[in-house]
Symmetry: C2
Subunit: 361 residues, 2 copies
Amino acid sequence: MSYEGSSGVVNGRQNGRPTLEQVAARAGVGRGTVSRVINGSPRVSEQTRTAVARAVAELGYVPNQAARALAGSRTDAIALVIPEAEARLFAEPYFLDLIRGVSAELADADKQLLLTLVRSEQERQRFEQYLAAQRVDGVLLASVHGDDPLPDRIRELGLPVVMNGRRSEAEPVPYVDSDNIGAGRAAVAHLVGGGRSRIATVTGPLDMYVARARLGGYRAGLAEAGHAPDEALVSTGDFTEEGGRRAMRLLLDRRPDLDAVFVASDVMAAGARGVLREAGRRVPEDVALVGVDDSAVARLMDPPLTSVRQPIEEMGRTMARMLIREIQGMPEGGGSGGGGEVSEEPRRHVLPTELIVRESC
Amino acid sequence: MSYEGSSGVVNGRQNGRPTLEQVAARAGVGRGTVSRVINGSPRVSEQTRTAVARAVAELGYVPNQAARALAGSRTDAIALVIPEAEARLFAEPYFLDLIRGVSAELADADKQLLLTLVRSEQERQRFEQYLAAQRVDGVLLASVHGDDPLPDRIRELGLPVVMNGRRSEAEPVPYVDSDNIGAGRAAVAHLVGGGRSRIATVTGPLDMYVARARLGGYRAGLAEAGHAPDEALVSTGDFTEEGGRRAMRLLLDRRPDLDAVFVASDVMAAGARGVLREAGRRVPEDVALVGVDDSAVARLMDPPLTSVRQPIEEMGRTMARMLIREIQGMPEGGGSGGGGEVSEEPRRHVLPTELIVRESC
DNA sequence: TACAGGAATGGGAGCGCTCCCACACTAGTT
DNA sequence: AACTAGTGTGGGAGCGCTCCCATTCCTGTA
């Protein structure tokens, strides 16, 4: 008897799902009151609340999202934007972990996740259209490049944004990043501690802040250990395996006597490891290796790769949390005529990284 | 002049974005006409169409999605559901590839992707609420278990569904699957062709159809080669690396003379490979190995693993295409009082797999 | 010349909510 | 007794679309 679950076929309505109005009728109250109960307003007597709750349960009522969005101008959805090019580049589990964190946090807040893979300039523009269509309350951006205008465009539209990573040292848009400088520093410290003295590095593309930061950490680590900087020990990769190979070959050419390499990603480290093997260098006996990401790649390498772990899922959670707070703190979009400036102090979070020691050094 | 892009601040409106009504006023036509132009109705004169198009461009008009959904009862969004537990289990790039395919196809059709990671029974129920709130026009389900009631529940709600994989041989719900039987068969044929005669297999959990199918393919392959079946050569894993290790140990205990193993996933193959090394067996000299997934794991193993590749991204595309067609073919949700039965012939697609030969056999 | 039939168009009537104003009704104040 | 100041509550007025029924203006036909 009316306990058939929420199949929606329970009630005798001939078409579609029950509406607020019908719940109100059944509970013997007005629409406004039901709305208040649904939205948890305190301005309802306990008795009424109970009656409405029963009517809701009996009818299997679920508020229509479109109507809510139209009347209330909030969608309870947020967009996560991932540039397609990056999705291939990065260690593969990265984005899945990020999504996992974001998703978990959003689920707790009862918000929906709209995932957008952007694979071309055209799609980027289409995405801006979506935003303008007021489909989401805010935007999460993953792996933004140094010259990406999207973050600023979104703010112009009056939408809250939080980025994963930053475009530069002085990033004006709120972001969550991992401590990439600390990553480089920890890697070098570990290598120095293992008795290595000619420590090279393979960097990412230097137009990305993350690459510069890891390089900066490497240099800081060397300085702290009292080693002199040596540009011949620095080689630029592009976060791909092949890029890692090329960079490693260059390093061996320039400094055949190197005894350790800090590689700015596991995938590049896999490439570097291949080159070392081909050159007859043993890992870790001749050359020690440290990567970044602590991905499956690292665990499966031979020997298993020491790597700096980033708290990816935690970054996702933090981003979502920041965005939700920002949305709540900004009741009506700031897109009115004039500035559209969101003048709050931009927030930033830098989460710690962790060195996972394995046999490669 | 009015070419400031779509910043929306161009026009003199004091708040929010332009509406249909305003476009109509500017173009000197009625609301209905603008709506017709926006939606590409043929019942508009060329002249009027042009005038409206200009007004739209000048005002930077973008239709409000919520209003559309409310009035037209279609959301232009679809949900992709991924069980969280699976997301960890499977070779990691799997879901990212799937998402990539789905996303690409949806972008072409101008639809939004709502990603839902389901990590508990509670969240599964919450997801059903979302569906009832009419947030999406259809649902894509990834890696459904044999006893999962969700597909049927969704159909009861009158929503189109397409699954990735199937729950059983006789799956009533439309699905896209890869040819797992063919995968097992191809692997065995390759091993036989390489002169192996005592070919074992490590399977997935046998309550999953995908595991049974790969096992079936293995058996078919043996039969075709004229080999007698031998249950001592079959060991059950669970798609994890540790499960692969356990299954491999069992096999070595039972049949120390085996000379090849078809492992139903790369991740399990990595585990098996470790056990073989510990047992002093060389790959491929003593034991040949074939995996499934062709993931990064396979490329990075030592030696690189021969593996059966699934067209994951293509599966994603196909799923999305099927769902879109189903949505279009079903103008109004079938959720009226009575049956709610969607009596169309369920469609199914089985995409071919491909053996990628590397040094492990 | 009168009139049917179609093409193009305008605009009313919702869709199902939220917002908010107005109206009871209750107590507490002068 | 006449007031104020709350509480609950009902319901009108939209939100910005789509749907669809007129209405107008052509044409072509009897």
